[in-house]
């Protein structure tokens, strides 16, 4: 399966949207061989019991698939991290939100490829509905040289209007690509 790290994060992100989050923060920071991902939302959160269940790939709440609050994303993530010397932490509080802190070890050959971050940001920005999303993308190079950019959904919407319109989407995609390319070139 061609599942990259960015796909995996998209899946988690979608859980946040489905959990009714109004405000989501996503940090993607690379330093040497380590990639740190932090995803924080103020969605409906999970109780400890629900959190445990969300880690089980064979769990289904027996209700309609569509209303399942947790996708396969979490079990995939755990498996990926465990087989590749990474680490992860999930904190969740019912009614308050969920926080994922994940560290991928890019030096381990079992870690999937990073994938397309600009593409992930694009998709994460373009879900339907009113929510604020703040993305911080950062690369810390050797000798501590920092390159980064910040994206804010409300600011981009202010410029582009409705993201669902193909014209706006095409410009947004170009904009995001140019940010990421510049960062990688540094």
């Amino acid at each position: 399966m061609h599942y990259s790290l960015s796909d995996m994060i998209l899946d988690l992100f979608q859980n946040s949207i489905e959990a009714g989050a109004q405000r989501i923060h996503l940090d993607i920071v690379r330093e040497a061989e380590e990639l740190k991902v932090c995803l924080k939302d103020d969605g409906c959160g999970m109780t400890e019991g629900e959190l445990e269940k969300s880690k089980d790939p064979f769990h289904s709440d027996g209700i309609k698939h569509k209303h399942r609050k947790v996708g396969l994303g979490i079990p995939f993530l755990i498996q990926t991290v465990e087989q590749a010397e990474g680490s992860f932490e999930i904190q969740s509080e019912k009614g308050k939100g969920t926080l994922f802190s994940i560290r991928f070890n890019l030096g381990n050959i079992d870690t999937p490829p990073e994938g397309d971050w600009a593409g992930l940001f694009f998709q994460a920005l373009c879900f339907d509905g009113e929510y604020e999303l703040i993305i911080n993308r950062k690369i810390i190079g050797e000798e501590g040289k920092v390159g980064e950019y910040l994206l804010q959904r409300s600011e981009l919407q202010d410029i582009l209007g409705n993201f669902n319109e193909s014209g706006a989407m095409i410009l947004l995609r170009d904009y995001l690509k140019s940010q990421e390319e510049e960062l990688l070139d540094q």
Binding site: Y3, H65, K66, D116, G119, E155, I159, L171, Y175, Q179
Partner: protein
């Protein structure tokens, strides 16, 4: 591509808008809805989405609304895409890769001809109410 600033983005958007006004597209919207469940993502829904946008762009279409939705309950035929064109029945297509996405825009949307072999009957039973 040189790094685009927000100012440049704003300018591009407003020239795009005045171009659209000039062509005066009436509110007859075409909708493309791409399924993004776990399996849709894994099956390459992103490639389909990219191909839709590229084809829309290269054909200068302006009145298309593109949306992403969660799981459509059709794991076995992901990526799935729903296409709504005024005057035509709503169609769900399955196994939409980049090439099929291009075909959907060029045939279904531009020439009102359905793309055979990829039409899906209806969503899986547990999804429709």
């Amino acid at each position: 591509m040189a790094k685009m600033t927000l100012e440049e983005l704003r300018k591009l958007r407003s020239s795009q808008k005045s171009e659209m006004e000039r062509r005066d597209v009436e509110g007859k919207e075409i909708h493309i809805i791409v399924g993004m469940g776990t399996c849709g993502i894994a099956a390459g829904a992103k490639m389909a989405l990219d191909s839709f946008l590229d084809t829309i762009k290269s054909n200068n279409l302006t009145d298309v609304v593109v949306k992403q939705t969660g799981c459509m309950g059709l794991c076995y035929s992901e990526p799935t895409v729903e296409v709504k064109v005024p005057g035509m029945p709503d169609i769900i297509y399955g196994n939409v890769d980049a090439a099929v996405a291009k075909e959907i825009v060029e045939k279904h949307i531009m020439h009102k001809k359905m793309v055979e072999n990829h039409i899906q009957d209806k969503p899986a039973g547990d999804i429709i109410k």
